[in-house]
């Protein structure tokens, strides 16, 4: 055993414990940051030690949930090194590697911009790329810049690495064009198509010739069954697909999971079409690692929710439902899951820290309009509560149904006060607002702190 590495990881673990003991958040990246600082190559060596290899998942939307679903499937009979709390830069991956002594398989969600270096260092067996949406332009730059870096990364992958891609995202699917050892996933149920590709959709133009795509079915943003009328570039054949999808409001969904060798019906206790996408992506990762159909079904059905992405919390006789939103495509899907059972009271929380995106203009690309006439009260909160309030008023919400309460804790209490017993209070926060709200609920003893995980 490498003595230097052993001493370093032991020291790094100590720091993680210290950070938790002093209540400084989960300590999920601090040990990794230390290790990363003293010896960045340690990540390469720790990853190389995993007997089952490494699988990486990246996307703009759904990477935490997809990775957690894959962990539900793969973790049933092997020990994982997994960055479960969503710390998805190399320092977070270093932390997960340090923490998981004796792990067999590494399973990591990876920030879109961190993918190239993470691939280089961890030499993955499987790389899953799910979607690219415009997101935090102040941080990532334009979508095309991320796509270009992914293209270079994919081109450098060795042949034995299995590439899992969404067939439904034209830019992502095209990364796999002409490559062997690829698994393509997507949805195959036109009854769930949107009437039109959403406002401000990305990648609506053919990646080959620039002509607008025609959609047989657009499911989520620009994801769907597309075809270019000029050059014929079209969605490739699906290897892993969801068919016969039933969505049951904020409760659950059901679909037939079609795999290269057979199919199985899956009951998912998560709402929304976007979670069906996440489930199909997770299933494709599991297929790439040779997991049986039955184990995939069991893993998906046993899954409740990834950290902070979707949580249902009982507070007295009221239920609080929290859905993380961080960009227009994700927010539109969260709102779409509310369309069936519209809650009487809605709390929308907008922060503008680096992790949320300092540029808040994205809220204008979210389609709040269909929901607004049906909600009795909307409470806008967070550091940019006023800006969000303006968005809603200009979107048609009467001023007397809007309350602007910038302090998160006050907004939460006001929401709970307005929601009558036996009803749901739905909260849609951005990332740091979600962390802060969760912190408040932890202090009140209604949810466990996040490093204890909501997951097995």
């Amino acid at each position: 055993m490498d003595v230097r590495l052993t001493v370093e990881t032991a020291a790094a673990r100590g720091v993680g414990k210290l950070s938790r003991a002093f209540g400084r958040g989960g300590g999920t990246t601090i040990p990794g940051k230390l290790l990363w600082k003293v010896d960045p190559d340690a990540v390469d060596r720790l990853a190389a030690r995993l007997p089952g290899g490494v699988a990486l998942v990246s996307a703009t939307n759904g990477k935490t949930t997809t990775t957690a679903m894959a962990a539900g499937i793969l973790g049933a009979d092997r020990k994982l090194a997994w960055n479960r709390a969503g710390a998805n830069l190399l320092s977070g991956i270093a932390s997960a590697l340090v923490d998981a002594r004796g792990a067999e398989l590494g399973l990591f969600e990876v920030d879109e911009a961190a993918l190239p270096e993470t691939v280089e260092r961890t030499r993955p067996r499987v790389v899953a790329l799910a979607n690219l949406f415009r997101d935090q332009l102040d941080r990532y730059g334009e979508l095309e810049i991320v796509a270009e870096r992914w293209r270079a990364t994919v081109a450098a992958l060795p042949e034995e690495t299995t590439l899992v891609v969404s067939a439904d995202d034209p830019v992502v699917a095209d990364l796999a064009a002409g490559r062997g050892n690829v698994l393509r996933f997507g949805l195959d149920d036109p009854t769930h198509r949107r009437p039109a590709v959403q406002h401000a959709a990305d990648s609506k133009y053919c990646v080959r010739c620039g002509t607008p795509y025609e959609y047989e079915a657009a499911y989520v943003g620009h994801l769907g069954d597309y075809r270019c009328p000029a050059c014929g570039h079209a969605r490739p054949e699906l290897d892993v697909a969801a068919r016969d999808i039933e969505l049951h409001g904020l409760e659950s969904s059901r679909f037939r999971l079609v795999l290269p060798h057979g199919y199985v019906d899956v009951e998912l206790s998560l709402p929304g079409l976007y979670n069906v996408y996440n489930a199909v992506a997770a299933a494709a990762v599991a297929v790439a690692l040779g997991v049986s159909t039955e184990k995939i079904r069991r893993g998906l059905e046993g899954f409740s929710a990834a950290f902070g992405r979707f949580e249902r919390i009982s507070i007295g006789r009221k239920e609080l439902v929290m859905l993380l939103v961080k960009n227009p495509a994700g927010a539109n899907e969260a709102l779409r899951t509310l369309e069936i059972g519209i809650p009487p009271v809605l709390v929308l929380a907008l922060n503008d820290a680096i992790a949320d995106g300092q540029d808040v203009s994205w809220i204008w690309d979210v389609d709040y309009e269909p929901l607004l006439p049906h909600v009795q009260h909307v409470i806008a909160t967070g550091d940019r509560a006023d800006e969000l309030g303006l968005r809603l008023v200009y979107g048609g919400l009467e001023r007397n149904r809007l309350e602007v309460v910038p302090v998160l804790e006050h907004a939460l209490d006001r929401g709970l006060e307005l929601a009558s017993a036996g009803t749901e209070l739905v909260v849609l926060p951005t990332y740091t607002a979600m962390l802060a709200l969760r912190g408040i609920l932890t202090e009140r003893g209604v949810v466990p702190p996040y490093w204890d995980g909501g997951q097995p």
Binding site: D138, G141, H199, G210, S361, E387, Y394
Partner: protein, 250 residues
């Protein structure tokens, strides 16, 4: 009164929530009893003489901007003529760049623009990103704040004597150096500020509406009746405070 708006390339240039700016214009017009009639002007569609009281050009990603640039340049004479006859115009970010003389790439070639604003934009190596606060005096003796967010690699250099939209209080502005941001040419305003710009800066929305109404009615511009802008002002204050705390270095 009906205000006819020509929204150029909404399918291509919509990167920074440009529909927010249009929504603000529509609502503020409606609250004064006017109607905003928005027409999309796409690739190959002509800008007809006198057809619009207000023109709007948003921003796009590089690929989208390159796709519309030649078509926009071809519309140049019609756009310049519309502004010369008093139509209002707002151009944001990429639209602002494309309405100048042109965009000079790192290899020195010039992608020709509309030639409405007296400026040229040169490609930069680093992006200028952050909150911005400007001090504007579109009318002499009437100074007002304008708060937004900028994210651009191009450096826009105003010609000698060109009128900027405002003086940079916090942030980078046109080129990170001159202390100026945006450009004003008669009834036309160009700026890097999005956020979107108009919701938190309602006075500029009203300035544009007042020019558009003057164009539609063939009368002199008049101040519009004030609205309750409590939320707008609160959003402006937070945005301005952000610019002070974390805007670019000036």
């Amino acid at each position: 009164m009906r205000i006819r708006v020509g929204h150029l390339y909404p399918e291509y240039l919509n990167i920074y929530a440009d529909r927010g700016n249009i929504a603000v214009l529509a609502r503020r017009a409606a609250l004064r009893g006017h109607e905003l009639d928005v027409e999309a002007v796409g690739l190959g569609d002509p800008v007809l003489p006198g057809a619009h009281d207000l023109l709007y050009v948003g921003g796009g990603q590089d690929r989208e901007q390159a796709a519309v640039a030649p078509d926009l340049a071809a519309k140049g004479p019609a756009i310049r003529d519309a502004v010369a006859r008093g139509a209002a115009l707002l151009a944001v970010c990429g639209g602002y760049q494309l309405l100048g003389r042109g965009y000079r790439g790192r290899d020195g070639t010039l992608m020709p623009g509309v030639g409405l604003f007296p400026h040229e934009t040169v490609a930069g190596t680093t992006r200028m990103i952050g909150d911005v606060l400007l001090e504007c005096s579109l009318e002499p003796g009437r100074s007002r704040g304008l708060a937004g967010f900028e994210n651009h690699a191009g450096r826009t250099l105003l010609d000698e004597g060109a009128e900027p939209l405002g003086r940079v209080v916090y942030g980078f502005g046109n080129d990170g150096d001159s202390g100026f941001e945006g450009c004003r040419q008669g009834t036309a305003i160009g700026t890097y500020l999005h956020g979107p710009l108009l919701p938190r800066n309602p006075w500029l929305a009203d300035w544009l509406l007042s020019r558009a109404l003057a164009h539609a009615s063939r009368e002199a511009p008049r101040d519009l009746e004030p609205l309750d802008d409590e939320l707008e002002e609160a959003a402006f204050c937070v945005s301005a405070a952000r610019a002070e705390a974390r805007g670019g270095p000036r």
